[in-house]
């Protein structure tokens, strides 16, 4: 099972970030968080931005850790594959979050 977890982990982080962004968006629009401004941004943008950046930073950290460290293979999965998975997931988190830069959130 550890191999299954090792291979899924990167994408589970993507899934968690994705679900959090979508949930926050729905909740934020329902409570009007897009109408309260925080500096140049809206409250909703700040909340979602924090989640996005946290997910990006977290997976970037893991990519770095995988680059250094010993050449161990967690759960028997070659490190090369894990690195590729985490980099792909990092990129996926970035792309999935790009709509955050849209000017309006709730229309």
């Amino acid at each position: 099972m550890s191999a299954v977890f090792a291979l899924s982990a990167a994408w589970l982080v993507w899934a968690a970030a994705f679900a959090a962004l979508y949930a926050l968006h729905g909740l934020g629009c329902a409570i009007g968080a897009d109408e309260r401004s925080v500096g140049p941004l809206t409250q909703l943008q700040v909340m979602m931005g924090v989640v996005w950046i946290a997910a990006l930073a977290g997976s970037a950290g893991i990519v770095l850790a995988l680059w250094r460290g010993a050449e161990a293979a967690p759960g028997g999965v070659p490190r090369r594959l894990l690195r590729a998975s985490w980099m792909a997931a990092l990129l996926a988190i970035f792309i999935t979050g790009l709509p955050l830069t849209f000017p309006s959130a709730c229309v």
Partner: protein, 838 residues
């Protein structure tokens, strides 16, 4: 012949294996059969039957649309026809077809003698049969579902579909889904535990990876749909307004739950087919697959990404553009792992010397059709384009390209490839090729032009159209194409059936394949292997010539029969180290009886005889206890000889048993079901109209305290029981189990007090109370399950089925008690917090 002595060579080993694994002749044998080869074949045959039925329905659709203003059938019948076409193809053909293939192949490819839970295989089969009968019967009496295969509410709710049609769909499909979830759990555990010794995960044939991921996707993908169906049926039967906007429900909740299942479903269908492709292509190209690791990583990416796509079926429901863009991005990203696979297949063909044998021909068809379907899929992921093309014939064309290219063509290739394995015979030359060209040409004639007529504005699901629209010629072409395709399928079927009469024996490994399913006599015997292989590479037949003969001579593992028991080997999940001898159950009528009783529940719901429904539920509980009572051992025997100088204990004396893993994955599915319910509550609260509700839940602090604390104490008691058992203190363990049972019972009483004391507002008045009621019902059900299991554990302890060595049954009971405690805490805290609902 027990215990220690290395068994003498058994001259009549094959005879004895055959006797141990045999099934009685005649009808009784049909009922009690639990063998994976037979049940796999049955699943595939039945799926082919439903493919024909649904195919005939589609020909009726094409007959209706062949000319404008057709009066062939009216909208009442037409709506039933297209609803049933989609429903049967999805639930009765595609899923069972791949289940059948997996059941048939998996143990053979992994080097095992059967699936992990043979009786569950049979139970799934009978659920599929009985559920299918409900659907078929409804068609014969003209009361078939008519709301479209995704059954959108409120059209499918009681007000707008007053008849039994929608109930048939909800109950019939849910019944069949039981079989799908059973198969998912079983496939997962079989792949993780029942492999040949030495087959670590990275030495598995690729198709096992595909099936593992598919099965895991089903574990997490099907529960949302089952929940949706249950809620909608409860709304229809008892008036709990989950989806009624006038009473705080929301039609969109159904769409979320349905597509949360529905999109992964597309990949659940595609991945096994892709596994077949990855198996056949290297054989046809006489090489090995390129990029094994890449493909495995891509499968995982694909599986998880596919859970983030569901809203792209809902691009027109008025979700804000930013949210749509999240899903649009995910929908685009999912094409990348698919692209990796397609390029890996291309690279494999380049690396080898491909030969255009029949399976390869069908795979070429796959390449053309599937790539086109993928490309139109990318177009549909673009939101502005989707707004135009959504719900037109363009989408119909796209989904047929994806599903026929991504599933039907690979399955035809699979049949062409493995049929000699099933029958042990050769096919007639050239029939299959002729069938291919008819299907291929007919398919494109039917569906290619449908893209165009869709872009011209032809909607889905209309029963006719006017000549002025200019769609006449294209539709006529489509209809002609569909009949050509039908001839092709008939010819293909005829080719398969011919093997009954044309008795030309096939070679032992006709394609020169390298996987273990060809290392046995064909057609296969009930026990698969005379002795079990030890695997050292991904292509055992290529790297160890003579392996087949060695196994037949009994030079592998378990070349003996111990006390008439059906045995296979269980390994450690990752490394493939030998861990245990898995003792499998023999022939049994229990699966059939249990499915019959389960069917009784569904029929009583269907007939509106709700007061009868508890009786079959009770019956299922009793039968489940009987089921679990069989098997196990009353004495410790210790590690046994398994041949080749190695030893392993029988599975009851280990901790990581198939049963334990099966319980883990069942709980995963169960937890997903529960999470979907919690999601539904949050969704309605945030999004649905007509909130806040008229009345909130009353003060329940006392009930909640009892309901949370008692199961926690029960968990402690079970841990104590385990500790006592480990020391061999059976009486104490039994006492602790019974104490835990009493605690769970107290908790159930506390929970029941909430509605009994009138603290739950009227569940038919508002969705708030309805969901709260549903959560309480879910909690009560799990407390009851824990209660029954604890009683069962006490009885097993008393009867001597547990000891300090044989503890895994108690570990399973502990899992479920813990789960009940966690559910109790979550449900009651949510209800406490939602007491301030206004």
């Amino acid at each position: 012949m027990s215990g220690d002595a290395e068994p003498a060579a058994q001259p009549d080993l094959r005879l004895e294996l055959a006797r141990t694994w045999s099934t009685p002749q005649g009808w009784w044998g049909v009922i009690v059969n639990v063998n994976h080869t037979d049940l796999g074949k049955r699943f595939m045959a039945a799926a082919a039957f439903y493919f024909c039925v649904a195919g005939i329905l589609s020909m009726l659709i094409r007959a209706q649309l062949a000319s404008p203003r057709s009066a062939f059938v009216g909208p009442e019948i037409y709506n039933q026809i297209f609803t049933m076409h989609g429903t049967l193809m999805m639930f009765m053909f595609a899923i069972p077809m791949f289940e059948g293939l997996a059941l048939y192949l998996l143990p053979k490819m992994l080097g095992a003698r059967d699936m992990a839970f043979p009786r569950l295989t049979a139970y799934g089969w009978w659920c599929y049969v009985f559920g299918g009968m409900i659907l078929l019967a409804s068609m014969l009496v003209g009361k078939a579902p008519d709301g479209g295969w995704f059954m959108y509410t409120p059209l499918s709710s009681r007000t707008y579909t007053p008849g039994i049609n929608a109930d048939i769909w909800l109950l019939g499909v849910t019944f069949v889904e039981i079989s799908a979830v059973c198969a998912a759990v079983e496939i997962t555990v079989t792949i993780l535990k029942l492999r040949a010794p030495g087959m670590s995960l990275d030495k598995m044939p690729l198709v096992a990876w595909y099936l593992l991921v598919t099965a895991l996707m089903m574990v997490f993908g099907f529960p949302p749909l089952i929940l949706g169906s249950v809620l909608l049926e409860v709304e229809r039967a008892f008036g709990w307004p989950f989806f009624d906007p006038a009473r705080g429900g929301d039609a969109l909740l159904w769409q979320h739950l349905f597509w949360l299942f529905g999109h992964p479903e597309v990949y659940i269908i595609f991945l096994p087919a892709a596994g077949v492709i990855s198996t056949i292509i290297p054989v046809m190209a006489r090489t090995r697959i390129v990029g094994y690791g890449w493909i495995v990583a891509a499968i995982f990416a694909l599986a998880i990404l596919s859970f983030g796509l569901w809203v792209h079926h809902m691009f027109t429901v008025g979700i804000p553009h930013m949210a749509l863009a999240f899903f649009s991005a995910a929908s685009t990203l999912v094409a990348i792992p698919t692209g990796i696979q397609v390029f890996a297949w291309l690279a494999t063909l380049w690396q080898g010397r491909p030969e255009l044998k029949l399976p390869m021909l069908y795979l070429l068809g796959m390449f053309v059709v599937f790539v086109m379907g993928g490309l139109t899929g990318v177009m549909l992921a673009v939101v502005p384009f989707n707004w135009q093309a959504h719900d037109t014939a363009f989408v119909t064309a796209h989904l047929h390209y994806v599903l026929v290219g991504g599933f039907v063509f690979p399955m035809l290739a699979a049949i062409a490839y493995w049929l000699p394995h099933v029958t042990g015979r050769q096919r007639l030359p050239r029939l299959g090729e002729a069938a291919f060209w008819l299907i291929f040409v007919g398919f494109h004639a039917t569906f290619f032009f449908m893209h165009i007529v869709g872009l011209m504005g032809m909607r889905r699901r209309i029963d006719t159209y006017h000549a002025e629209t200019g769609w006449t010629l294209i539709n006529a072409l489509s209809s002609v194409g569909s009949y050509v395709m039908a001839f092709g399928f008939a010819l293909f079927l005829g080719d398969c059936l011919m093997q009954r009469f044309v008795k030309r024996r096939a070679a032992a490994d006709p394609w020169g394949a390298t996987t273990l399913e060809w290392a046995m006599a064909i057609p296969p015997r009930a026990y698969n292997f005379v002795s079990l292989p030890s695997v050292r590479s991904r292509d055992p037949l290529a790297d160890e010539p003579g392996l087949t003969q060695q196994l037949k001579r009994g030079e592998g593992y378990l070349a003996r029969v111990r006390e008439g028991l059906r045995e296979t080997l269980g390994v450690e999940t990752s490394t493939g180290r030998i861990e245990q001898i898995v003792v499998l159950p023999g022939n049994s009528a229990l699966p059939f009886i249990m499915a019959l009783v389960t069917g009784g529940f569904f029929l009583s719901m269907l007939a509106g005889l709700y007061w009868i429904a508890p009786a079959p539920v009770l019956g299922v509980v009793v039968l489940a206890c009987r089921w679990a009572w069989q098997g196990g051992a009353r004495a410790d025997v210790g590690p046994l000889q398994i041949g080749r100088g190695e030893r392993a204990p029988p599975h009851p004396e280990t901790t990581s048993t198939p049963g334990w893993w099966g319980s883990v994955f069942t709980l995963c599915a169960d937890a997903t079901f529960f999470a979907s319910l919690v999601f539904g509550f949050a969704f309605l609260w945030v999004v649905a109209p007509n909130w806040p509700p008229p009345a909130c839940i009353g003060s329940i602090s006392v009930e909640a305290a009892i309901g949370i604390a008692a199961p926690m104490l029960a968990v402690v008691a079970v841990s104590f029981a385990r500790a006592a058992l480990r020391r061999g203190a059976l009486a104490r363990a039994m006492g602790a189990c019974m104490a835990a049972g009493v605690l769970v019972f107290v908790a159930a009483a506390g929970v029941a007090a909430i509605p009994v004391l009138g603290k739950l507002p009227d569940v038919t008045a508002h969705a708030y109370a309805a969901v709260a009621g549903a959560m309480l019902a879910y909690l009560a059900l799990h407390l009851v399950i824990a209660f029954v299991m604890l009683g069962f554990a006490a009885a097993r302890l008393r009867a001597g089925y547990m000891s300090a060595l044989r503890m895994h049954e108690l570990a399973i009971v502990e899992q479920w008690t813990r789960y009940a405690a966690v559910v109790a805490a979550i449900v009651l805290v949510i209800l406490l917090l939602s007491g301030a609902c206004r």
